[in-house]
């Protein structure tokens, strides 16, 4: 049974030879940003714990996170957060069985990417 039509059938795409469609790239980026945000959470909790420990120790943490390197890392984390957030919102619609057809997926791909950039800029303007 397993040998029926072997070699002459559609094969599942292999990651190394298959150009991932945008929706698949967004999917894996959502997982990667989710894992990376754990690292960002570590920095933020460190900032709070330093504040609870002493004003002197807090000056070190606050200084490092607001330095140029700290800013680059936190702005990257902010974008990761909004990207994960935006695709999470799309997944609420997927959970309700909505938005699975190809034209909608192609459109909402760009909503997710657009929203991640717009929300990052908006947050930076607000704070």
């Amino acid at each position: 049974m397993a040998d029926v039509n072997r070699g002459n059938r559609p094969l599942s795409p292999h990651l190394q030879v298959y150009r991932l469609p945008l929706v698949a790239k967004i999917s894996i980026m959502t997982r990667i940003t989710g894992v990376a945000l754990g690292g960002a959470a570590l920095l933020i909790v460190w900032w709070f714990v330093a504040g609870a420990y002493s004003p002197e120790y807090f000056a070190v943490a606050d200084g490092l996170l607001s330095s140029l390197l700290g800013k680059i890392v936190l702005i990257a984390a902010l974008w990761a957060l909004w990207f994960h957030f935006a695709n999470g919102i799309r997944h609420f619609f997927f959970d309700l069985g909505k938005g699975f057809d190809l034209p909608t997926v192609v459109k909402t791909n760009w909503y997710v990417i657009g929203a991640s950039v717009v929300l990052t800029v908006l947050t930076l303007l607000l704070v």
Binding site: L37, G38, F48, G51, A52, S66, L81, D95, V127
Partner: protein, 125 residues
């Protein structure tokens, strides 16, 4: 032919007993994080880089402290169950067991550390 009932053939296997709890909690924490993310980011972003005075001024407010503590608590929970799926997808055997344990322990330790630190800042201000 088996004389077992349908129920007895599946009881105790795989996710039996837990059902969709993991899936459901991922959604519950996601929904909670929608408002909490926004409520956390604005005061946090304003206080960041403002020194100790800005920290105390921001988090001596009960509302700011509450939303920040809730955000870190729910985010740690969301991370713990999300990371669990990543570990289950890519690792096997003993490595998986160790990583699953570390994931749960470290995620909740991180969340608890954040909540306690915020509480200390709130109550000592």
């Amino acid at each position: 032919m088996s004389y077992k009932t349908d129920y007895n053939r599946v009881a105790g296997l795989g996710r039996a007993g837990e059902g969709v709890h993991h899936f459901w909690m991922q959604r519950v924490t996601s929904i909670a994080l929608v408002p909490l993310t926004i409520l956390f980011l604005i005061p946090f972003g304003k206080a960041l880089g403002g020194g100790y005075e800005a920290l105390v001024a921001t988090y001596s407010s009960f509302g700011n402290a509450l939303t920040a503590a809730l955000f870190l608590f729910v985010a740690a929970w969301h991370f713990a169950i999300g990371m669990q799926v990543v570990i289950e997808d890519y690792t096997h055997g003993g490595t998986r067991l160790v990583l699953l344990l570390l994931n749960k322990l470290l995620s909740f330790a991180l969340g608890a550390a954040g909540v306690l630190a915020i509480a200390k800042i709130l109550f000592s201000a």
